[in-house]
Structures are given as structure tokens and as C-alpha cells.
């Protein structure tokens, strides 16, 4: 199973003005039939959140990838008669990945002798297999499913609490209470994951619905465009355009993945 993936994080104009780095990170891996996407937004209040978001994405994604690699029998093992193992417990794996990512932040904070909250970041992850998808999410940002008929549907909503500038990060001591897991037994054609910088453009505040006018042009472009090495650059250019800049001065991250036709 091959995937066509466009992914980019751009620094927000507000961050440039405040001399802050881009605190968003993303990481994508494909393991066998499974696609793993992680997006993380480092909190503006945290001194080292750009390290936090990068670390969280990488540790969590690599852990999931490693778990899936271990359970999936390769074609040689199948030839030699290895019986197919039970479907991996994706929800448990994702949960363990979040715990590990948080542990990695704790370890890093201890190594650098700074407070854990300086690594505060959100984290959203999704694993997409041919028959099902599982997501786990803390903080804001959103994940959107892309279906065979071209429709889009929000899979996991942001958690902003009452106020727009408040969210619970992975580094919170109460993070376990704020983890939101979703799953459905359905085959997605594609998936999109974003940080909160992109969210106001395409996720309805009131209903949580994904806005097709935002996703359709990108999906069509992705389907018709096969110069795979340029996808990230093109998406970066789009996020960096004046049109989107006017809408958001925050860091913006967007990952869109479609199954190869």
C-alpha cells in the first residue's frame, strides 16, 4: 500500500515578530499497510516547546512504527507458514506511544535541568490501515478523514476548553484525563492532520465540520500530481501564501496523505 503524502510546517508571522522559532512539528511513517501521522504544536508559553513538539512526534511515531513492524509478518514469514498474528491493538499502541513521548520529554527536561512545562506541546496521531483507523489526541489541532467519494469528515476535534488561548498539553500532570481516542472500522482514502494555525480555515468552530472548499483543491492537486519530491514544497508554498497568512499569524502545520490510486 503506497501513500502520496504532502506535509509542511511553516513559522507564523506572529512568531517571527516575537522572535520565537517555529514550534510546530510533524512526522509521518508508512509501515506495511499502515500509515502513521503525528502533528504537534509547541505552546507559545513554553521556552523549549519546539524541542518538545519535535521529540514528541518522533518518539511516538517511531514507537508505533516499531510495534507495527514487530507484529506484521513479512512475506517470507508468510511463505514459511507463519500464521498471521491477531490484528495489533492499535489503541493500546497509540496510548503507549503517548506515554513514551511524555516520558521522553520528562527525561529531556531532567537532562537539561529545566521544568517539564518548558516542553509543553499538543500531540495528535492517527494510524490508518486498509480496514480501520485509530486516533489519539491531546490539545488542539484537528484530524480529518478523506473518503472515496471525495467527501471530508472531521475525525478528531480540538480541545480548547472554554477559551481560545487555553489548552491542556501533553506535559500537564492531568494529561491522561484529556486524551481523546477515536476509532472506526472503515477504510479511508486519505487523511489530513493539522495544528491549530490551520484549523480556523477549515474546521467549523460551531459544528466541528470539515470545510470541503479547503480540502478539495488540495486533494485534487495531490491526486493529479505525481512528482512526489515536490509535494512538500508546494504545500509549504501554499501555507506561506499571503492568503493564508492573513487568516493566521500562528505556526501552521498540515499533513495530507492519500492512498496511491
Amino acid at each position: 500500500m503506497r501513500w502520496r503524502i504532502a506535509k509542511a510546517s511553516v513559522i507564523g508571522t506572529g512568531h517571527i515578530k516575537a522572535e520565537m522559532p517555529c514550534q510546530d512539528s510533524h512526522y509521518v511513517r508508512v509501515v506495511g499497510d499502515a500509515l502513521i501521522v503525528a502533528v504537534s504544536d509547541g505552546l507559545g508559553s513554553a521556552e523549549r516547546s519546539e524541542v518538545g513538539s519535535a521529540l514528541a512526534c518522533e518518539i511516538a511515531t517511531d514507537y508505533v512504527a516499531q510495534q507495527l513492524t514487530q507484529v506484521a509478518p513479512n512475506r517470507w514469514q508468510k511463505l514459511l507458514g507463519a500464521s498471521a498474528p491477531a490484528e495489533p491493538a492499535y489503541a493500546d499502541i497509540l496510548h503507549a506511544a503517548f506515554v513514551r513521548a511524555r516520558q521522553a520529554l520528562e527525561d529531556e527536561a531532567a537532562r537539561q535541568t529545566v521544568a517539564l512545562r518548558e516542553y509543553a506541546c499538543t500531540l495528535l496521531m492517527i494510524v490508518v490501515t486498509p480496514q480501520q483507523w485509530h486516533s489519539l489526541h491531546i490539545g488542539d489541532g484537528a484530524m480529518v478523514g478523506i473518503y472515496a467519494d471525495g467527501s471530508v469528515q472531521t475525525l478528531s476535534l480540538p480541545d480548547n476548553g472554554e477559551f481560545i488561548n487555553v489548552t491542556v498539553p501533553l506535559t500537564s500532570s492531568e494529561y491522561r484525563d484529556h486524551l481523546r481516542a477515536q476509532h472506526r472500522n472503515e477504510g479511508l482514502t486519505g487523511v489530513a492532520a493539522m495544528s491549530d494555525g490551520v484549523q480556523p480555515m477549515c474546521i467549523n468552530f460551531k459544528t466541528g465540520a470539515a470545510y470541503p472548499g479547503f480540502f478539495r483543491p488540495i486533494i485534487q492537486w495531490l491526486q493529479s500530481h505525481d512528482q512526489l519530491s515536490q509535494l512538500d514544497d508546494a504545500l509549504h508554498t501554499m501555507l506561506d501564501s499571503d492568503k493564508l497568512r492573513q487568516k493566521s499569524d500562528d505556526d501552521m502545520t498540515l499533513v495530507i496523505a492519500l492512498r496511491e490510486p
Binding site: G44, D140, D196, N204, F205, I218, K243
Partner: protein, 258 residues
């Protein structure tokens, strides 16, 4: 007959469960044959945004003492301060559409200006007269904030923590109503539902203002209303452009407090 050799152990390169093949080789091909460098990058067609998503809002209620003791220079300076507030907010295009201002004046306690976008705010000319129903005015302000929050919620408008900003030069004349207001303010503040500031003009009962909130009241230096409103505008600008998790560091109110 097929050879009975076992199949080769998968290496990372040909492991079926790792990366797709092209991700390893493609950069090399690109480099060697200069294939894609020459082809122009195709742009993503224009995307459109959800038009129903409104800008986030930051509500600010000014609770202003217009009792008889504010008469003369005080009320004139307060009016000048409001004009400076409008001018300061109008230099910031983002704050103009995000900050919403309402004014409650007391005596008597009344809604002088319902919520209006900062960009459309025209300061009223306040007159000083009557007594000091500070408690009733605060109650009215708190009601106004909770109605506003509900309106935001019902319409899917994201919002920042609302601000209530009290200015007084006296002591309440409406009995113990202020105690009920103080209880409400403290419970809202501990639930982080609101930000409350009290500013005392010379002659104000600072001990009473201190009992209204957990935050220490500020004592206005002379009649520095202008400096105070410039500070308020700068603070609201910062808040209305803050992002999730960001602690907004307000400037020190040294220019206008004792």
C-alpha cells in the same frame, strides 16, 4: 524443482514493511539525472476558507464611576482617557475586530455602551452626578459578561477570557450589594472565567477594592487616565493575539499607578 534455499533475510532496503522503495532511490535519481529540477513546481489551486468561522473575541467591560465626586477635572480626564483608549486600539487592525468594549457607568448604574467592536467604538461623553452604586454596577457588569459568553458559545465564536475593569473614586452607597459582587468575582476568577482589575482614584476606599478581588487594586497616579487606558489597550492587544497556552505578560502599570 525449485531450489530449497531459504529466502534471503529481509534487509532494511527490501523489507516490505519499511519505507516504500522510491523514498530511498528517488533523491539519487533526481540528483544524477537532474529530472525534476527542470520541471516547474505546480501550485496547489486556490483553497477557500470556511466563511462562517468568526474571528475570536475578547470582551472588555469598563465599569466607570460617574458619581458626583468625579465632577470637574476628574470626569474631563476620564473622558480624555476614553478617547486615548479608542485611538490606541485603532492603531491595531487585529485588536480592532477582536476586542469588544462595553461601558457601565454608576450613579445610577446603567449600561452606557453595549458591546461594540473596538474599531467601531465611539467614546461617550460622561457626566458626573448622583451617588456611588458600585455594587449594582458590578452585578450588572458580571451579568453582561455571562450573557456575552453565552452568546459567543451559541454562535460558535471562540473567545478569550473577558476583562472587567473597574474605576472608582469613592465607596459604594448601595449597602452590601458589593459583597455579593465580590463573591461572584472571586468565584469567576478562581475558575479562570474572567479577569478583574480595580483602579482607585484618589479618595477611593482601597481596602474595599482589595476585597473585591484576589488581584491587588491599582491606585491611580494623579489623574493619569490617559496612561491607564493606553496600558489597557496594549494589554488587550496582547491578549487578543495570544495563542493557546501562551501566558500573556502584561506591561508593568508603572506609568499610571502609585
Amino acid at each position: 524443482m525449485w531450489p530449497t534455499q531459504p529466502p534471503p533475510a529481509p534487509t532494511l532496503r527490501n523489507h516490505p514493511h519499511v519505507q516504500p522503495f522510491h523514498s530511498d532511490v528517488r533523491p539519487l535519481i533526481t540528483y544524477l539525472f537532474d529530472v525534476e529540477k527542470t520541471t516547474p513546481m505546480s501550485n496547489i489551486p486556490d483553497v477557500s476558507f470556511d466563511p462562517t468561522n468568526p474571528d475570536p473575541r475578547c470582551a472588555c467591560v469598563l465599569v466607570l464611576d460617574t458619581s458626583g465626586s468625579m465632577h470637574g477635572e476628574r470626569i474631563a480626564e476620564l473622558n480624555a482617557g476614553l478617547a486615548a483608549f479608542r485611538d490606541a486600539l485603532q492603531t491595531d487592525s487585529v485588536a480592532q475586530s477582536r476586542v469588544e468594549i462595553a461601558i457601565i457607568t454608576f450613579g445610577p448604574a446603567q449600561l452606557t455602551q453595549d458591546f461594540v467592536e473596538a474599531g467601531k467604538f465611539t467614546p461617550p461623553t460622561l457626566q458626573a452626578s448622583g451617588d456611588t452604586p458600585l455594587g449594582a454596577a458590578l452585578q450588572q457588569a458580571l451579568d453582561l459578561v455571562s450573557v456575552r459568553k453565552q452568546l459567543y458559545k451559541d454562535n460558535g465564536v471562540p473567545y478569550y477570557r473577558p476583562w472587567v475593569f473597574l474605576i472608582s473614586d469613592g465607596a459604594p452607597t448601595d449597602g452590601a450589594v458589593w459583597k455579593q459582587a465580590a463573591t461572584r468575582i472571586k468565584s469567576e476568577e478562581s475558575a479562570k472565567g474572567m479577569v478583574f482589575f480595580a483602579v482607585g482614584v484618589d479618595g477611593a476606599d482601597m481596602n474595599l477594592l482589595a476585597e473585591l478581588s484576589t488581584r491587588t487594586p491599582m491606585a491611580l497616579k494623579g489623574l493619569h487616565f490617559r496612561e491607564m487606558f493606553v496600558w489597557l489597550s496594549a494589554s488587550l492587544q496582547k491578549v487578543s493575539q495570544s495563542q493557546p497556552g501562551q501566558q500573556v505578560a502584561l506591561d508593568k502599570p508603572d506609568d499610571f499607578t502609585i
